[in-house]
């Protein structure tokens, strides 16, 4: 038996939909206050970490700040704006500009992105290398097969999805006062920023993103390794 629906059925449907959406939104707003999220990432200035340390020999002992900073193994020269000469894999000499996002590492004309062009919290390849030398923990945020094909030496692989159900177990191996450098494929890849935000939310205060990603790191001839490494489940 067919029943002719009332003529104002769609009006009723619209009201019901509005009620459902409103209740869902209201619950969402309450949840947002219960567990606030971070949409931006605060971090220290990388140049503060990379300042050469004062040799302590002839100076009277003075109280030092409690926060540990990674000291370079040898006194480092002031950080230069120019990047070191890249390896033979790229051809940098005549190209101008950085062409970020349009020219990929390894392509003719690619140059590492200079510091002045970087968003806050992102670092150059040279800065990343200095942090690497000082013992920073690198985090590869790419897919498993990309990681195993080559990654920064001793980098852990932790993707955004590994944070879904809580902090991944691998974080227990990274002290909260560590310097963390996240990277992915460079260019349009956002995964490293997202993972960096998760680290910040988990209590890490010194988190950076390598802007030019693994491709830039590799082209500059910095230490890489292949294989399974350490990966979050």
């Amino acid at each position: 038996m067919t029943v002719k629906p009332p003529t104002n059925i769609w009006k009723l449907v619209a009201i019901q939909a509005l009620v459902l959406a409103s209740v869902g939104s209201a619950i969402g707003v309450i949840d947002a206050f219960r567990r606030p999220i971070n949409l931006s990432r605060t971090t220290v200035d990388v140049n503060d970490l990379l300042k050469p340390t004062t040799p302590p020999a002839a100076v009277a002992p003075t109280p030092t700040p409690a926060t540990p900073t990674p000291a370079p193994p040898t006194p480092a020269p002031p950080m230069a704006k120019a990047e070191p000469a890249p390896t033979a894999a790229s051809t940098p000499t005549t190209a101008t500009g950085t062409a970020t996002g349009t020219v990929n590492p390894g392509d003719a004309g690619w140059k590492p992105t200079p510091e002045a062009a970087l968003p806050k919290g992102q670092i150059t390849i040279e800065q990343a290398k200095r942090l690497f030398d000082a013992g920073a923990q690198f985090i590869d945020t790419r897919k498993k097969d990309e990681y195993e094909a080559g990654h920064v030496q001793n980098a852990f692989r932790i993707g955004l999805s590994n944070f879904q159900a809580g902090d991944p177990a691998l974080l227990a191996m990274i002290p909260r006062d560590s310097v963390v450098v996240a990277y992915c494929s460079g260019g349009q890849c956002d995964e490293s920023e997202a993972v960096a935000r998760m680290f910040s939310g988990s209590g890490y205060a010194k988190v950076f993103v390598l802007h030019d990603g693994f491709p830039g790191w590799k082209v500059m001839g910095h230490p890489v390794q292949t294989g399974a490494g350490m990966q979050a489940e």
Binding site: A14, L20, A32, I37, S161, D167, D190, A194
Partner: protein, 150 residues
């Protein structure tokens, strides 16, 4: 059946984005998925979307499964799916290499990063939703309770 399937899919999709309820990580991850679309949204809107979308999905999914306010719940889901399709096409056209974020870290039919498969997947779900909106729902609570909107 279409309603129950669609409701179950959205209930699962919502749960993947908000559970566990005691951890800030699931919404944080979903917020990252939203910002990855590079829509230039203000922070308050990203935060609102991060929480309102999954909870609304959850309510609509439960309503569809129970057969309560079926047309309205399906209508909400169709509206959401059309929005997701539009956002997905926009991201693909702009060349963004991102994850869909549709089901948290889970997948339905399509795997890997956002691609045309996800658009087709959403179109399929939209068709089910439209069916639920237009067709007279049978064997539902609405029908049992004699509600006017069935």
């Amino acid at each position: 059946m279409a309603g129950i399937f669609l409701g179950a899919v959205f209930l699962w999709a919502a749960w993947k984005k908000i559970a566990p309820l005691g951890s800030p990580n699931p919404p944080q991850v979903f917020a990252s998925s939203i910002t990855a679309y590079k829509l230039g949204l203000p922070d308050w809107l990203v935060t609102f979307s991060t929480f309102a979308v999954p909870w609304t999905e959850l309510l609509a999914g439960v309503a569809l499964i129970l057969g309560l306010w079926t047309r309205a719940a399906a209508g909400i889901i169709v509206a959401m799916l059309l929005l997701f399709i539009g956002l997905g096409i926009s991201a693909l056209v702009r060349g963004l290499e991102i994850k869909c974020g549709c089901f948290g870290d889970g997948t339905l039919f399509c795997t890997g990063g956002l691609g045309w498969c996800h658009i087709r997947e959403n179109l399929f779900l939209t068709s089910l939703g439209v069916l639920c909106v237009l067709a007279r729902p049978r064997g539902t609570l609405d029908e049992l309770l004699g509600r006017k909107t069935f």
